[in-house]
């Protein structure tokens, strides 16, 4: 059933700095992932799979690649007459680009004003997961919370702006810590917040009038006693992309069947832009094991423990191991790659050898010819 009463607001630029090697020419949300996806596909698909068909995407200055990927939203079934997809670029009137969540949300007040939905889901795009948002909404309504924060229990991601929560048994948050906290297991926020729209607007107005511009600090932490904040532990598999290393590991995790089963269940597909590439072709000398290979590839070499995106050509006498090769790469004869992440359209000329180290992969910029 369509979830008419809920709208989604996505922040594809949040955490850009955590993955600077891949975000110099694109926002975090359009970082390629898992052979054929962009990170934003997971959040968008989760919203759509929960029947939410009004989604606003708050962009900053570098949204070309995102616009190109998402287009009218057709691939997510969001090209609709009623509601659908809205790009929300910075308004010209503001002095500077949206600095953070509070400023961005204030900038899109007209969008809220014109929306009849009762609830809002705010979400960043740095979490890979197939998360049932319906369940979070149910939990939010049942607990009577003012705001529900989706969280996960475990090792704290290496982000500078973590939100750490301490909850009572019923899920009510009674303590919050912010920032780069000491390692160890605890509940950390996934950048997904659910609340009533009018509550959000009230809190925003109050914060902005006092020049309080940090969402976690000024709307959550500051009001921990007078606002009912609840945590919801997401039961599904999630991978938080918080560093080059975690990006690499989250990709490699896809080689595990149980992770693929968790991320790509038949009933809740992850949608992405369709490119109509022909199926992958394996040549006479191809030797591929424990790898994920997308359509449009032509493989004649050796590939192990790797993620190969669409339209990649791998010549014979090549040896590719523990690597991520993004769309459109050309890998010539007699090369070897180990622990490398190739951004889009990289060319590796014949007889080159590139190797990173485990836990410290080398990143090759988009369009580089090596």
């Amino acid at each position: 059933m369509r979830n008419n009463n809920v709208m989604g607001i996505l922040f594809p630029n949040m955490h850009d700095e955590a993955l600077s090697a891949l975000t110099s020419s694109r926002p975090f949300g359009s970082v390629p992932f898992g052979g054929r996806y962009r990170l934003i596909d997971f959040t968008l698909s989760n919203l759509v799979n929960a029947g939410i068909s009004k989604v606003g995407i708050v962009t900053q200055d570098n949204y070309q690649s995102l616009m190109d990927h998402i287009g009218s939203g057709k691939s997510w079934d969001l090209s609709r007459k009623n509601e659908g997809l809205y790009f929300l670029p910075p308004v010209a009137m503001s002095d500077e680009l949206y600095a953070g969540r509070v400023a961005s949300l204030t900038g899109i007040r007209p969008f809220f004003r014109n929306s009849k939905e009762e609830y809002v889901i705010l979400s960043d795009c740095h979490v890979v997961g197939n998360i049932d948002y319906d369940k979070i909404l149910d939990a939010h309504r049942e607990s009577g919370a003012d705001i529900t924060v989706a969280c996960k229990h475990g090792d704290v991601p290496r982000l500078n702006d973590n939100l750490l929560l301490w909850m009572q048994e019923d899920g009510r948050v009674n303590d919050i810590m912010l920032g780069n906290c000491p390692a160890g297991e605890c509940d950390y926020g996934l950048g997904i917040y659910i609340m009533r729209k009018d509550f959000l607007i009230r809190m925003l107005d109050a914060a902005v009038s006092r020049n309080h511009m940090n969402f976690d600090r000024d709307i959550l932490l500051r009001h921990i006693d007078d606002v009912k904040i609840y945590g919801y532990r997401v039961p599904e598999y999630t991978a938080v992309i918080s560093s080059p290393g975690s990006f690499f590991r989250a990709n490699m995790d896809l080689l595990k069947p149980e992770v693929r089963a968790a991320l790509f269940p038949a009933q809740r597909p992850i949608y992405t832009k369709v490119r109509d590439a022909a199926p992958a072709v394996y040549g006479l000398h191809a030797s591929v094991t424990n790898s994920l290979v997308a359509d449009g590839c032509f493989i004649e070499g050796e590939v192990h423990n790797s993620i190969i995106f669409r339209d990649v050509r791998i010549a014979r006498d090549t040896h590719i191991e523990n690597s991520i090769v993004m769309q459109g790469a050309i890998i010539c004869e007699k090369t070897s790659l180990n622990c490398a992440v190739l951004d889009k359209d990289v060319v590796i000329k014949a007889s080159r050898n590139l190797s990173g180290a485990e836990g410290y992969p080398i990143f090759i910029d988009k369009g580089t010819v090596v």
């Binding site: 898992g34 052979g35 054929r36 996806y37 057709k74 896809l254 080689l255 069947p257 693929r260 991320l263 790509f264 597909p269 992850i270 949608y271 992405t272 369709v274 109509d276 590439a277 022909a278 199926p279 992958a280 072709v281 394996y282 040549g283 006479l284 000398h285 191809a286 030797s287 591929v288 094991t289 424990n290 790898s291 994920l292 290979v293 997308a294 359509d295 449009g296 032509f298 993620i307 190969i308 995106f309």
Partner: protein, 404 residues
Amino acid sequence: MFRKQECVAMLLAGGQGSRLYALTRNLAKPAVPYGGKYRIIDFPLSNCVNSGIETVGVLTQYQPLVLNDYIGSGQPWDLDRMDAGVHVLPPYQGKKGADWYKGTANAIYQNMAFIERYSPEYVLVLSGDHIYKMDYSKMIEEHKKNNADCTIAVIEVEMSEASRFGILNTNPDGSIYEFDEKPAHPKSNLASMGIYVFNWEKLRRYLTEDENDPKSSNDFGKNVLPAMLNAGERMYAYRFSGYWKDVGTIDSLWEANMDLLNPKVPLDLSVPDWKIYSRNPGLPPHFVGEGAEVQNSMISEGSNIYGKVDFSVIFSGVTVEQGAEVRDSILMPGARVMAGAKVQYAIVAENAVVGEGATVGSRPEETEKIEDWGVAVVASGVRIGRGCVVPPKGMVDSDIPDAQ
């Protein structure tokens, strides 16, 4: 009010494809899967779009459910348009009663109202039976240049094979003087590809005349085209060179798939400026497991390969388990080959299962009498039990229980 379209395409997609037997039990021939991620109809539809033809009527009749679903709004082909676009046209009930499409010409006749709304100059008649990439705009260009009433696309076939086709005999300027349907002694090797361009004014007249002739079987090849030729209309052949294959039989469907693995065959689906579009199942990239061996094959998204795959075309969502062996075969969407099973020279249709240790098909050199050899077929959704054997040329359309 519909905007005028210079050319409207009418795609005859009602055929049963009876020579594909078990594969067309539940779907019309144009919906038969081909080439790892396509269905046959993707080729004429994509050719239309790539040729700039924006209005396509698809005439359905036999088992239309899969085909209707597949075409949907036409979005995968960019044919979800405001008033142009793709339109599925089933037979319907009218004031004078209801009629199935009696023949190819009658199917168009019954949908004249659809064509009229666009007041086209030309109507392009296509079939959903062939695999080929063709720029119809060039054919229409030549039709105009010849000031023709009808242009028929032809392809040169081997003289020895010509008696299997409808042959056109032409003058040096390309004008047609004779049709020869499956001639015992062919005079030329120009075979009709079943692709026609008509001036709509002329076609409308001949369709109406044909309909009023009670003796006619209302077929383009048998009735309408000969009638036009006898009346002295300007009919021309348009020569096409390139890959073109009828996939009307099990053997030719199997061959046409295998052609994709042969670099010498001029059918390249990866050319970016003439893409073949298809409805996408939205699955993750395919996975090739530890211990898998994949060579000389085509593999589509969402498949999981843990066994050995050689010279095969693997569609989306297929599973080949550890220790299974698939050679010279086609595994259609969702098929599953379980551990230790062996599939050779076979077509395993959608969602069929080959149980543990079962054998489907065999290599020609391993078959005692070569006349007993042929491609084996497992129909969609059928389960071949553990340890069972499906002989070459075998055709299984119901479950086989586990062997004792």
